[in-house]
Amino acid sequence: MSSNSEPGTLAIEGENDISLLDILDHVLNSGVVIHGSLVISLAGVDLVYVGLNVVLTSVETALRNIERDL
């Protein structure tokens, strides 16, 4: 696996699949330009950055519920 390939798992104990949790962990973790929950209104005609922290909390709760149901 080169650094250019899609992420996988380091073979420590088998598994090869990347889960949705892993993807969300990374694509929603920080990221450039903006961070935290900066909200600039649409009226300001600038940047839309919805309160992602709020969204994340609900995603986290939903995923936890799914895991519990499994």
Binding site: L24, D25, L28, V32, L63
Partner: protein, 262 residues
Amino acid sequence: MPKIAITLPKPSTNPATDTALYLYAISHAPKQAAPAITAEGIDGSARVDAIRCGEYLCWVSRVSRQEFGDQLNQRMQDLEWLATSSLRHQHVVTEISSNTTTLPARFGTVFLKEASLIKHIKQRERVLRAAFKRVAGADEWGVKVFALAPALHVTVAKGASGAEYLKRKAQLLQPRTRGKSDAELQEFVSSLKKLAVATAPGGKASAGQPGLLWHGAVLIRRKDRNKLESTLRKYAARWKGARRIDCSGPWPPYSFVGEHVQ
């Protein structure tokens, strides 16, 4: 009754007010033309374009302002939508970063106008320059340590009460995190920190996974990848049966391009 044909007015589309720019990543502008990105855009149909902004290229798709602007917050609550879209985001960023050092944008970064995107980038040139320097030649890896579920086999003396049985079982279900083993976890984390250019707390999505003892993101120089592997193997062997280590990557350096990197 004769049918009457009714022609509904076509919804008017005005690119200036109906579209928004979804940002995937920022890279240095190459001297030659930037290679085209073939991965599917964030909405499944939009092209991935590069907008030049001084010394940088901003990788964007022109998407529905309604879907990615006004309704982004609601859409993100829909896990199916979120799964598909975050995967597309990830594929595009991976393709861009396979060509050059790239600062990935967090999923859901949307600008209403090209002018506001460019203004935003210009205001952050100093931060961007520092971030490019930090992530050059390095990849992000996600590391998680889980407590393995203990054997749920409970043996109690013949004639013991049901309460006794439940008490023993509850003891077995206690997470094994106290005492000496915590020191071992600290030791593991500090050896990762020694190896890494930087470390960051793990993402929030997996924070609720059962048995998760620690998780974090580490930024590792490509030449040090085998050191990361051997450290993980060493601890995986030491903790066999008690703890599991998961490691995913290489990821674009999502967790290391903000302004609060440790």
